[in-house]
Symmetry: C2
Subunit: 341 residues, 2 copies
C-alpha cells in the first residue's frame, strides 16, 4: 500500500509499504482523512533533539520500541477511518462504518503504544492502518471524515482548558492561534468563558480565533494581549512552542496568574524564574487528552457546537504531502491540511 514517511528531515511517499495486519483486539481500517499536525513538521526537523531529550528523561516508563530516525518513520495521528475487517476474535462495527479513535494501540506484551511516530506501526498518513477495537468511536450525525479528523487536535484544546480549571468568569489569554491555540479558544468558548483574548501575528489566524469564540483578537506586534484583560489574575495558554514565548508570558502575566503550556517546544529554552517567583505564578503543562475529553470533542463537533470547517484550508492526496509540509510554514495561507489517502 502507499504511505507517507518522515526521513532525513522531510516527508516522502512510499508506494510499496507492507500492509498492516490486525492482531487480536485490533481492527484493520481504511484511512478516510488524516490531519497534518504542527508537531509532525516539528518532528521532521527536530526529531533527533526530541529523541535525545526523551532518552534523558526519567519518571516515566521508557518505551521498549525504540525509534530509528535513520529508517522510515510512519506518522499521522489525527484520523477518521472506515472499518475494513476485525482481527482474530475481535468485535468491531460493520465494515464501512466511519470511526475515529484515540491514537493508542495496546500490544500483547501489555505496553500501549501511542500511534504517533514509528518505524513499524502505520499511522493515518497512509492508505490503511490498524486501530484498537476498544478505542473506536463511531462518527455520529453524518459528520464528514475530513471534519471528524479534527477530533484529535480539538481534544488537545479541551484537555488544556480542563487542566487549567478556568471558570466562566475567568480571564483567558491565548498566545498563538495555530491549530492548538484555536482548539483552546474553541474549548474556552464552549465552557462559557466570557473573556478570551487571543494573540497571533497572522490576520488569517486571528480571524479563525474570532470565529471560534475569542472575544478579542490582538496582533502582538501592535498591541499587548495583557492590556486587553481586566485587572487581576489571568489564565494564559502558551500555544506556540517556540523558545522565548513562555518567558515573555511570565514577564507580562499578572500576579498569581496560571499559565498552561500546551505548545510543544522540543529544544532548550531560556527563561527567568525571577518573573514567576516575584508574581507567584503557576504553570501547568498539558499534553494529550482523556477518553472522555476525546468523546466530548467528537460530539461537540458533530452536533455543530464547534464549527471546525473554517480550519480546514486544503484537502489533498498523499502525493501532495511534501507541498503541504512546505505550505504549512506560512500561517497566512493554511491552518489545517487534511490528507485523504
Amino acid at each position: 500500500m502507499r504511505a507517507a514517511v518522515l526521513r532525513g528531515g522531510g516527508v516522502h511517499v512510499r508506494d510499496e509499504v507492507e500492509e498492516p495486519v490486525p492482531g487480536p483486539g485490533q481492527v484493520l481500517v481504511e484511512v478516510a482523512a488524516c490531519g497534518i499536525c504542527g508537531s509532525d513538521l516539528h518532528f521532521a526537523r527536530h526529531g533527533a533533539e526530541a529523541q535525545a531529550l526523551g532518552a534523558r528523561m526519567e519518571g516515566v516508563p521508557r518505551p521498549s520500541r525504540g525509534l530509528d530516525l535513520g529508517q522510515d518513520v510512519y506518522l499521522g495521528h489525527e484520523f477518521a477511518c472506515r472499518i475494513l475487517e476485525p482481527g482474530p476474535d475481535t468485535e468491531a462495527p460493520p465494515a464501512g462504518t466511519l470511526v475515529t479513535a484515540l491514537p493508542f494501540l495496546p500490544h500483547p506484551g501489555g505496553e500501549t503504544e501511542t500511534i504517533v511516530y514509528s518505524n513499524s506501526t502505520k499511522g493515518g498518513l497512509g492508505e490503511r492502518m490498524v486501530l484498537a477495537a476498544p478505542m473506536l468511536l463511531a462518527v455520529p450525525n453524518g459528520l464528514p471524515a475530513h471534519l471528524a479528523a479534527l477530533t484529535e487536535p480539538m481534544s488537545v484544546g479541551l484537555h488544556a482548558v480542563v487542566r487549567s480549571g478556568i471558570e466562566a468568569d475567568g480571564r483567558a489569554v491565548v498566545v498563538g492561534c495555530g491549530p492548538v491555540g484555536l482548539a483552546v479558544v474553541a474549548a474556552l468558548a464552549q465552557r462559557g468563558v466570557r473573556t478570551i483574548v487571543a494573540a497571533d501575528f497572522s490576520p488569517a489566524r486571528r480571524a479563525l480565533a474570532a470565529g471560534l469564540g475569542a472575544t478579542e483578537v490582538v496582533d502582538p506586534r501592535v498591541d499587548s494581549p495583557w492590556s486587553r484583560v481586566p485587572r487581576g489574575r489571568v489564565t494564559a495558554f502558551e500555544a506556540v512552542g517556540v523558545p522565548g514565548v513562555l518567558d515573555e508570558i511570565l514577564r507580562c502575566a499578572p500576579w498569581r496568574s496560571r499559565v498552561v503550556v500546551v505548545g510543544v517546544c522540543m529544544g532548550a529554552d531560556t527563561w527567568h524564574p525571577y518573573f514567576g517567583l516575584n508574581k507567584e505564578l503557576s504553570l501547568d503543562f498539558a499534553i494529550g487528552y482523556s477518553p472522555d475529553e476525546f468523546g466530548a470533542t467528537l460530539h461537540a463537533i458533530a452536533e455543530g457546537l464547534i464549527d471546525v470547517a473554517p480550519l480546514v484550508t486544503a484537502r489533498i492526496g498523499l502525493d501532495e504531502l511534501p507541498w503541504a509540509f512546505a505550505a504549512l510554514r506560512n500561517p497566512e495561507e493554511h491552518c489545517k491540511i487534511i490528507v485523504e489517502p
Copy 2:
C-alpha cells in the same frame, strides 16, 4: 547610629547613619537580633541583574521608590526587636517588649514597602529601625531574640508547603537544604507528611534536615533523591535557586508531579519544557508568606514544635558582618548567622 549597608558587591558597616524616625502608625525599635538571608548574599553580587529584571517585569505595580545601587543599601529582614517608642498617635506594646514583625512598612501615600533593600528605610542589620504598629507580634513564651529572628525564614517554608497543597500521605522531595530548604522540611514535618526526602551536597546540612524531620537524606553526588520515594506523583521543592537545578528536577520528577519553586534565582536559566510537557508536570512559584503563616510559625517555634536552635551556627556583632558574608559561602561551616547589633 551604626548600620550595615550593601555597596559595590560587598557589605560594609557605617558608623554615622541617620537615626530612623517613626511616623504615625510606626514604632521605633531597637534591633535585638537579625538573621543574614541567602538572598542578601545573592543580592550583594547580583542586585543589578535582579533590578534590571524587575524593571522589565509587568503585571505588578511598580514601586515608586527606586533603588540606587550606586548608593548605600540598607538591609536585614529577619529581625526580632525591642520596643523603644511609638510614633505620633500610635499605640504600641510597652517599651522593652520583644517583638517580631512582617517586614512591610505602609507609607502615607498608601504604598506598602517591603523592608528588604532600600537607600532610605533601615533594615534589621543596624542598631535601630522603624516597624509598622499593625505588623507587630509580641514574642511569646520567653523565646530568645536570636531564635525569634528565625520566624521570617521559617515562614517562607510554611508558605511553600501550604502552596503545594501536599497532604500527610504525599511524597516530598526537597532539593537543597539551605535555610529555605530546611524551613520547607520543618513545615512538611509539622504538617505530618510521612515521606520527606531531602537532598544536599553538605553533610552538615543533611544532618540539620534530618533533625528537622526529613525521613531520609541524600547526597545527590552519591544517590538520587528520586530513587528514595515510592512510585507515583511527588511534590518537589526547588530550594537552591541556581541555574540548572529546576531543569534537573523536571527531568527526573515522575508523571504529574508538582514542583514548588522557592529558591531565588536572579538570573537567566535554561530548561527543557519538553520534560514538563511529556510528564504533565505542574510548577508553583512561592515567595513570602501570609500574616497567618508568619504568626503560626512564630508560635510553632515558641512552643518548641520546631527546634530552630541547631540552625544558628554563629551569633555576631555588626563588625563581623563582612566575615559572615564570606563564611556563609561554605555550607559546611555555617547555616544561619544571627547579628546582634
